[in-house]
């Protein structure tokens, strides 16, 4: 459905997109995951022909994307990072206006606007102006304006920034519902939990490059970490820390502020082995956690830095 090949975009000296390659299939919820400034929004703007790029190609629905390819634009809905609505119009008028850019038939438009209002849960607020809505409701209005015309492809650029958890869950469930109804979704975020929760495939972006692409399981299997074990312990000597590091499957040990973090490769009984060692050495310890790898671990191993940086 979307093919991005060798996309290069420069802002003066800054290389925002560095030969970015992506391929997105119809029916996917495709996540673009990366820290702030990694090039996600630039990639979206290039896809939508809102930005001129220096090199590469963007093909959507088999056609080269350009500013005047209105046939392709007709089938795309966008939800941008900043809320893009008119303060002077009511909730209903805003959705009707933006839907009207795509759908000329009044009757059909009315039906679509009503559906979008229902989808975003804005029934009680149709006559209110955006300035009177809470942050969460405003984001929902922003989404309703972008998806009212039932587009085949929806591009969402960080739609949940500064949204309360309740509204965020509603938005995420809504995105899944849109996908069930047949829309392909491209979703950018720097919140790995969101991406893990809804995306069928994920591209990890760093410095304008796609550093890894796959399902979340595929991404996690690409890395060495199989399990991260955390133990709260008051006092550990350097010798004891080194001994833990020498246990089978353990490849990284960190002890900081009375917390021992042990990263192990995939293997059975990793936790039991560490606890047995602590007991043998008569080391007292408090809480113990064992966590499976997250996308942050994927990012950390691939780029050497945390997603949240």
């Amino acid at each position: 459905m979307i093919q991005i090949e060798n996309l290069v975009k420069r802002y003066g000296e800054l290389l925002a997109l560095d030969h970015l390659n992506l391929e997105i299939e119809e029916g996917e919820i495709f996540g673009l995951l990366g820290p702030n400034g990694s090039g996600k929004t630039t990639a979206i703007n290039c896809m939508l022909a809102l930005l001129k790029y220096d090199k590469g190609t963007v093909r959507i629905f088999g056609e080269e994307m350009s500013p005047d390819n209105y046939k392709v634009k007709q089938q795309i809905g966008i939800v941008l990072q900043n809320v893009a609505v008119f303060d002077e119009l009511t909730v209903y008028e805003n959705i009707d206006y933006f839907c009207g850019l795509y759908v000329k038939d009044k009757k059909e438009r009315k039906k679509l606007v009503d559906e979008a209002i229902h989808f975003a849960g804005l029934e009680e607020y149709t006559k209110m102006r955006p300035k009177k809505l809470s942050g969460g409701l405003l984001r929902r209005l922003n989404i309703a304006c972008g998806i009212a015309h039932k587009p085949r492809l929806i591009i969402m650029d960080e739609p949940t920034v500064a949204v309360d958890p309740q509204s965020r869950n509603r938005i995420l469930e809504g995105i899944k519902e849109l996908n069930r109804q047949g829309s392909t979704v491209i979703y950018t975020s720097h919140y790995m939990e969101e991406v893990e929760q809804i995306c069928t495939r994920i591209a990890v972006i760093d410095h304008g490059r796609s550093v890894a692409v796959g399902t979340k399981e595929e991404l996690k299997s690409m890395i060495k970490t199989g399990e991260t074990i955390t133990v709260e312990s008051v006092a550990l000597s350097d010798g004891q820390i080194a001994a833990v590091g020498a246990l089978p499957h353990v490849f990284d040990v960190k002890y900081k502020e009375q917390v021992l973090k042990v990263r192990c490769t995939r293997g059975k009984h990793n936790l039991m082995r560490i606890l047995s060692y602590l007991q043998e050495e008569e080391i007292s310890f408090g809480r113990v956690f064992s966590e499976l790898p997250t996308l942050n671990d994927v990012f950390l191993e691939i780029t050497g830095k945390e997603l949240r940086d």
């Binding site: 046939k71 893009a84 933006f98």
Partner: protein, 380 residues
């Protein structure tokens, strides 16, 4: 026509603002035109001064001077009592005191003695009465030289050689600038201020946050969006212009409708409309911050109106200012407006002059629109 409808909807939200500005500017326009009419330098009217008149001569010429001054001023006969005279002057019972000495004819007309007068210090009325007394004395001297007696000279001065003037009042304005000419003089201020405020507000709504991106990503071409926006601005401008014209008819009625320049006033203000619209469009594109809009609009409208003869008549402006103002469209509007007011029956060369001024305004409008579109494209 979605974009057009969007503009109209946002305009509807601004209707209170439009009415408020219309009321304010209409009020200011009418007040300013009234005050400007009073301050006009071309018309003169005789001032009446209270003059204390001390006649110690009692001759025919002294009586003649009293009568002569009495035609314009209020004459209060007084005794030659210094204290009383000073008191009357102090309490402003009189503004000017003239003393006619005994032997007035011999001393002042045949001799060179000056009349004794007392006046309020720094008062312009003093100079005014001085001139009239000098005029009387000089005339009397002339009549004496011609062999007239005192009585004959006094009588001749009173009758005065009045030149017969026949005034051709083609505009039926009795030689005065008609009130509606002032009304039309202020129209650029009204159009510029209201259109810049309202269109600026609408355009800033369209340029806020990511709205331009959403519009750009839509299947409606940028060219079509611009055309629909211009159409909406045009409709708004036409409505405002009609309100202005109706306002003029409301204030001046038949006087305006029956004047020979009415059609030209309409055409001139109509050519000012595209100028105001294109300027408003440029302001709206350049100023995306509604808070800054007010400052920009005031600077632009007031600045242009002061330089181009709206608030200060072109006749009074210095040559340098007028030369600079020629590079601004409002100057050409005012030039045409002044010409229409001056020649109510417009024919031949005057007609060409007015058409030229209107043509220049249209060229300005086209140039400003091109700049606005170029800036808009660059900002997109």
């Amino acid at each position: 026509m979605t974009v057009f409808k969007g503009y109209m909807k946002i305009t509807k939200q601004n209707i209170g603002l439009i009415i408020m500005y219309l009321a304010i500017f209409m009020g200011i326009t009418v007040m300013m035109q009234l005050s400007a009419k009073d301050q006009e330098t071309g018309g003169y009217r005789a001032e009446s001064v209270r003059i204390g008149f001390v006649d110690e001569d009692g001759g025919a010429l002294a009586k003649g001077l009293e009568e002569y001054l009495g035609k314009i001023h209020k004459i209060i006969p007084m005794d030659n009592n210094k204290g009383e005279l000073q008191e009357n002057l102090f309490y402003r019972n009189v503004e000017y005191i003239v003393k006619i000495p005994a032997g007035f004819e011999k001393r002042c007309l045949k001799g060179n003695e000056k009349l004794s007068v007392t006046k309020l210090p720094g008062s312009y009325t003093g100079f005014y009465v001085d001139q009239q007394i000098n005029s009387f004395v000089n005339s009397a001297k002339a009549y004496y030289a011609a062999g007239y007696t005192s009585e004959e000279a006094a009588e001749a001065i009173m009758e005065g050689p009045e030149p017969k003037v026949k005034m051709l009042d083609t505009g039926h304005t009795k030689g005065e600038t008609p009130g509606y000419a002032y009304y039309y003089r202020y129209i650029p201020y009204l159009l510029l201020s209201v259109l810049c405020y309202v269109l600026g507000n609408i355009l800033s709504a369209f340029h806020k946050g990511d709205v331009p991106k959403r519009m750009q990503a839509s299947p409606i071409s940028g060219q079509r969006q611009n055309l629909e926006a211009l159409l909406a601005a045009g409709v708004l401008g036409i409505v405002l212009w009609i309100i202005c014209i109706l306002g003029g008819i409301f204030f001046y009625g038949r006087e305006l409708l029956e004047s020979g320049g009415f059609v030209y006033y309409l055409l001139n203000s109509l050519t000012m409309l595209p100028v105001s619209l294109s300027l408003s469009y440029l302001v709206g594109i350049l100023t995306s911050n509604p808070e800054a809009l007010s400052g920009v609009v005031n600077t632009l409208s007031l600045g242009m109106c002061f330089l181009c003869g709206v608030f200060v008549p072109l006749d009074i402006l210095s040559t340098k200012v007028k030369t600079a103002a020629q590079f601004l469209p409002v100057y050409w509007y005012e030039k045409a407006n002044d010409t229409i007011a001056e020649f109510e029956n417009i024919t031949g060369g005057v007609k060409t002059e007015i058409w030229q001024a209107m043509g220049i305004q249209l060229v300005f409008a086209a140039a400003i629109l091109c700049v606005a579109m170029a800036v808009g494209k660059r900002k997109a």
